[in-house]
Subunit: 490 residues, 2 copies
């Protein structure tokens, strides 16, 4: 079993690709661009889903389900939306296969659809077409609906979790009587995402708004959370869109307000996806493998016995099972691995690779002394603790690990956040010490586009509540009143 | 708001179609054959998912996710599988749209796939192609994986939940070292489904095996649970398949057994779908609307205030909120509907339509007397109870309702289960008093097929542990040693 990973230093990109596969998170499938999410990876995604779903419900949202397929004509109804999505769609044209004369399976040309169906890349169009039937009056508003679903965006160059043709996500689609209410919803969901990223994933994020260039196709304003990976590249972790009345107009969704006047409905949409799995891996993991925050680890503690002979194993089993039970009573998830077909050293490496937050080893001497050896995955530190009251000690340790991972990631981000006051300085930073670069920009799409072409860096966002500061655009020299966040991005 | 339903007596089929829409469970979408599952319906499905998911995990299974798309060639690899599924597939042939010269959106013919992709109708092929990479030795077995997903089977005549082009389901796919172990798994999951149907849905089921005609395409043996609806038609509620080595052979999945010999892996698959929603509706509901078993109701209790003036409402609010809190502390889900824009009578009808198991009304006299009026949805009975200790009384009542629904459905099924000893009698029963018909059959596909053509009745299953009894086939007169279950089916 070859467990040697590339190191982050050698090749960060390779390290990531290998780690995702070796730690059993996901693998490439036989279908180009589509991945298989393996049980260990899916267990992390399930924990993400549960936490997010609860946050959505606590803020008044309900789940529903809309069709996978969208009639082609729906995409033409919102002009900027079709421009943004039409280039990357899976198109269903037929609904039957048949056996050819030579025995092979072929498409039945007589079963051609009158109108092609698009596999949803996002669901605004089909959902707003549905909302038309749900909304007559202000009494029907707001509609606060979320959907957990798979979506497809055809990608030529894919990477596991970060960019795949099919991915899993949630998409919230809400309808409101006023612009203010819709904007408040957009901001509320941005905050939900930021809280989730920081409190569950231990990934610090900058909240901001996108420039026109980077805005969602069909949105008035796109809010986002941006995170920074260990290699200094940015990763957009979630977006929340204020859609104005664009989709209501495209699908003719009006309501009677309290005064009895007809008006178009105001909309938001917001989503996070299995891309978060990539952000999680790249934020915390090291050359030995995954490092998982305890709140999202499929199991938080692994116990490994180190024994000679069946009699000693029996004694250790007794101690281990008692500890396991005590920890589980406190809501800690524990795996006891007393398989006899692998040596302790192999198991240690395996659980380091899998990022299990805490490892407890129990050996012969521990039996005599009433102790255990406790190793934490984040710092790789070990200590010997008394068995008594272990459940409370581990509970405390898990909280420490969760906090430490966030603080470490925050310190990393701060160390990799730079100010550039000239274009030369800007390019030097991007080349030599990549990270977030705070720089003045003249506010034009042209400048942003030129910088992107010349350096591959994009404006990740204009931070919310940004500090105002007079300055000159690093590219054009024109006046600017705030710095924005530039970076090369995933 | 037109709440009048067709009655079951008038037109059972119309009654069902109207009820699903009026009770806000689901509706037809703009995409032919695809449905929108509305929030109230989806909340029931979520409860089903949670209960099933726990049962799967308690029996050692883990979740994973496999691609939506399956290469066309995969379907050819298992001969009977392709015959069963090829006729009803959505086929993706292109991966891009473009804007035509006239401004319309058209398929980009230059973006044609070399090999067409099929939107999964079921995932045996893509999963067994993946398992090939996961299995080398007996140590890698068993693999006990489940997937929650959407699937597509092209349907010409669709009905909400019962038969839709896209539906939601779970599909378990397991791999084993021996046939015995795979058969034990198949039977275990059948039992899980039966327990779920009876204990959660309150729907009694017959466990059995399918005849060759009705077997899953690619299975050696298909086990099923069969339920009977109020109109005397059968509904297959879940299936569990013993696949033998068919898919392992098709995808060349071998393992080294303990003796080091290579053998093909043994397989099972098993699934239930949003079709269960249809079974739930048709089993218990009445002419006033849905009747939901408490264990699957989105909320189990609704409290409605009946008041004159704000002062009285304030007093009732206080009592209601206290009761709500006490019930919630016991895990009972409660909605307090004190909206002032609808009258109590409207609310009563609305919550009857929605199938809320228990309704509590509080009026002025109740305030004086320390009482409430409690109405149960299943029997429509009302009683006046003291407010004191209401949470325990309601908890007990919910259990009674859950039990009563099962007993009522069981009594209905028993009343509609007939024995036929001649083909004339058989046809008369089907015409006049449809239900399950227990009859002797000669064991041949030909006879089964002829009976189906002449009467539309099929063999729903051969019950497990069936009583042996000498007799003659009702159709051919040939000898038979057991009765099988015939019915017209959804």
């Amino acid at each position: 079993m070859g467990k040697e990973l590339s190191t982050r230093e050698e090749n960060y990109s390779e390290w990531y690709n290998e780690l995702v596969v070796k730690a059993d998170l996901a693998e490439h499938s036989a279908v180009k661009g589509c991945m298989v999410i393996k049980p260990y990876g899916y267990a992390i995604w399930e924990k993400m889903q549960q936490a997010l779903d609860k946050m959505f419900k606590d803020t008044g949202h309900v789940n529903a389900y809309f069709p996978l397929f969208i009639p082609k004509s729906f995409f033409s109804k919102e002009a900027s939306h079709v421009a943004g999505f039409a280039k990357e769609c899976a198109v269903v044209t037929h609904y039957r296969l048949k056996t050819a004369e030579d025995g092979s399976i072929v498409v039945d040309e007589t079963a051609k659809l009158d109108e092609e169906l698009i596999v949803r890349p996002t669901s605004e169009t089909i959902i707003w077409n549905t909302y038309k039937g749900w909304i007559q009056s202000y009494r029907d508003l707001p509609i606060l609906v979320n959907q957990w679903a798979n979506v497809v965006r055809w990608e030529m160059r894919t990477r596991l979790f970060l960019r795949t043709t099919e991915f899993l996500w949630q998409e919230g689609h809400t309808a409101h009587a006023t612009a203010d209410e819709a904007i408040a919803e957009t901001e509320q969901m941005l905050n939900v995402y930021a809280d989730f990223a920081e409190q569950w994933m231990a990934v610090p994020v900058i909240k901001g708004i996108k420039t026109a260039n980077e805005r969602f196709a069909g949105a008035i304003e796109t809010y986002c959370i941006e995170s920074l990976m260990q290699d200094g590249k940015a990763l957009q972790a979630g977006t929340s869109h204020f859609l104005g009345q664009n989709f209501a107009k495209a699908f003719d969704v009006k309501f009677a307000n309290k005064e009895g006047k007809q008006d178009f409905v105001w909309a938001t949409s917001w989503g996070v996806s299995t891309r978060l799995m990539g952000a999680l891996v790249m934020s915390h993991s090291d050359d030995k493998g995954l490092v998982l925050p305890p709140k999202l680890a499929p199991f938080q503690v692994v116990i490994v016995p180190i024994y000679k002979g069946d009699e000693q194993l029996a004694q250790i089993n007794e101690v281990a099972n008692k500890m396991k039970k005590a920890m589980e009573a406190k809501g800690i998830s524990v795996k006891y691995d007393n398989r006899d077909n692998q040596r302790p050293g192999w198991k240690f490496a395996e659980y380091e690779l899998k990022g299990v937050p805490v490892r407890i080893a129990i050996g012969g001497r521990d039996l005599e002394n009433g102790t255990v050896e406790v190793a934490r995955r984040d710092t790789l530190e070990k200590e010997t603790l008394l068995q008594a009251d272990i459940e409370n000690k581990i509970e405390h340790l898990l909280q420490q690990i969760q906090d430490n991972l966030f603080q470490k990631a925050l310190a990393m981000r701060e160390a990799k956040t730079y100010h550039a006051d000239s274009y030369e300085e800007f390019k030097k930073i991007l080349d030599e010490t990549p990270g977030f670069v705070m720089a003045h920009w003249d506010g034009t799409s042209e400048t942003e586009q030129k910088i992107k072409e010349e350096t591959k860096a994009t404006i990740r966002c204009i931070p919310l509540n940004n500090k105002k500061e007079e300055g000159k655009c690093i590219y054009s020299g024109k006046p600017s009143n705030q710095r924005v966040v530039f970076a090369k991005a995933y």
